[in-house]
């Protein structure tokens, strides 16, 4: 079958999927079609902490999955970081050209290879206002990537993630995942992200320093964090703030 026709068929199947198991079976079949062995569809959050709320569907061998969980790679995985700098799918072998890799990243990748994780292809998925995610296809070390099929992998990743969003939202993911800030709290967090202190923020917004401190404290409480650095990062991460908000002139 032509690749485009296969993409259309896959879109139909995953849109009709009634539960995660059906979606998983469709992804499994597509993974083989693409010449890969494994898939992982996931939100980029600490999966052990987020539990049921976050999208997570994979057929990685249990040794790979344990390894990812133990490393808490949901957040620090270089593959996930690379997928935050592009909207297009990429092969893992391209990563050193996409993001700066630290010594620890290189160690993580080397450890992965020791677990038998070979090259893979990751489709980044970003829906504004929600945690970022991705759909990855991977094989054991030593198995080459079937490059001509990657455009199909790209479309499959996009449609699979959307199907997962639909299925997981029934579990109330969006409600649980993003704490809601008030407009005033968000304004304060925005100015914190721009490097301003409480007194300055108070002058900018026309309120007292104490009021600013209270807004920020309450915003911290909503995210369950105690430091304002973490607060700005969480707000950026879930789309309450965007980088454009912060750097806008």
């Amino acid at each position: 079958m032509q690749l485009h026709a296969m993409a259309l068929q896959f879109a139909r199947i995953v849109e009709a999927a009634a539960d995660a198991d059906e979606l998983g079976r469709a992804l499994h079949a597509m993974t083989e079609e693409l010449g890969f062995q494994y898939f992982a569809l996931t939100h980029h959050v600490d999966l052990l902490e987020m539990g049921e709320g976050a999208i997570r569907l994979h057929n990685y061998p249990s040794s790979w999955a344990d390894y990812y969980d133990a490393q808490a790679l949901g957040l620090s995985d270089p593959v996930h970081r690379a997928s935050h700098v592009t909207g297009a799918g990429f092969c893992w072998s391209q990563m050193p050209r996409m993001i700066p890799l630290t010594a620890s990243d290189r160690q993580i990748l080397a450890l992965g290879r020791e677990q038998g994780i070979g090259d893979g292809f990751t489709v980044p998925t970003n829906v504004p206002g929600e945690a970022r995610g991705s759909c990855s296809f991977a094989s054991e070390a030593g198995r080459p990537i079937d490059t001509p099929k990657l455009p199909l992998a790209q479309l499959a990743g996009v449609y699979a993630f959307e199907a997962a969003r639909r299925l997981w939202s029934g579990r109330g993911y969006r409600d649980e995942a993003a704490p809601q800030l008030t407009d005033r709290q968000r304004d304060c967090v925005l100015w914190v992200a721009r490097g301003k202190g409480d007194w300055e923020i108070g002058r900018i917004l026309g309120v007292s320093e104490e009021t600013v401190a209270r807004h920020i404290k309450q915003a911290c409480a909503r995210y369950g964090v105690s430091k304002r650095t973490l607060l700005t990062i969480r707000a950026l991460f879930d789309g309450t703030l965007s980088f454009t908000d912060i750097f806008r002139r």
Partner: protein
């Protein structure tokens, strides 16, 4: 406030169109670095901005631009058919009931939450416009990140071909089928027109 306009409409809408062309310059030229013509250093206007183009423009109460989209007829020259036909595996969708959505533009001055409100309102307006004007298909070209968002709106959206690297980006052509179920599909995905669009604070924010 939603304005549905054609180029050369009465002078009252001239200001709305001008603000839209300026906002398009800010987004597509300054931010996204598209290589498209700029008129008088201020307005992004190309050859398709002629009297056959239709615009959906959202403004605040004072007429400041919030978001906009351009609809091109497909029974005459348009972008997908003229420049990117190879993005379609089959024939390029065209005909009196098909419009190409181009220059979907959210004002850069909007904060993240307002952007989503404006985006949702504009998408719902596109669906309503199609239903009111016998349009059953929208075609569009999108980078993959934007493709994911368009799909997340919940309406029926299909790739017209495989994504391809063009002009330094991974582009895909897509079709959106509009029928009487579309508004319900959008609602189910959480897209509803937002009454409380930001009003009057754009200048202060800019």
């Amino acid at each position: 406030m939603l304005h549905i306009l054609q180029a050369g409409d009465a002078s009252a809408s001239e200001r709305v169109l001008q603000a839209m062309f300026a906002a398009r310059k800010s987004v597509f030229v300054d931010l996204l670095k598209w290589n498209v013509p700029v008129v008088a250093g201020t307005y992004e206007i190309d050859r398709f901005d002629d009297s056959d183009a239709m615009y959906l423009v959202l403004t605040d109460a004072e007429g400041n631009h919030l978001g906009s989209a351009r609809l091109l007829r497909t029974d005459r020259p348009h972008i997908l058919g003229g420049f990117y036909p190879e993005l379609c595996a089959g024939s390029v969708p065209s005909g009196p009931n098909v419009r190409e959505v181009t220059r979907f533009c959210l004002d850069r001055r909007l904060k993240a939450t307002d952007r989503r409100a404006v985006r949702d309102t504009l998408v719902c307006a596109l669906a309503d416009h199609a239903l009111e004007h016998d349009i059953d298909t929208y075609s569009a070209i999108a980078q993959m990140g934007w493709f994911q968002q368009i799909l997340a709106f919940g309406w029926r959206c299909r790739p017209l071909g495989l994504p391809q690297h063009r002009d330094g980006a991974l582009l895909a052509a897509l079709r959106i089928d509009i029928d009487e179920q579309t508004p319900a599909l959008l609602r189910a995905a959480g897209l509803v027109p937002k009454a409380g669009l930001p009003a009057g604070d754009l200048r202060a924010a800019a």
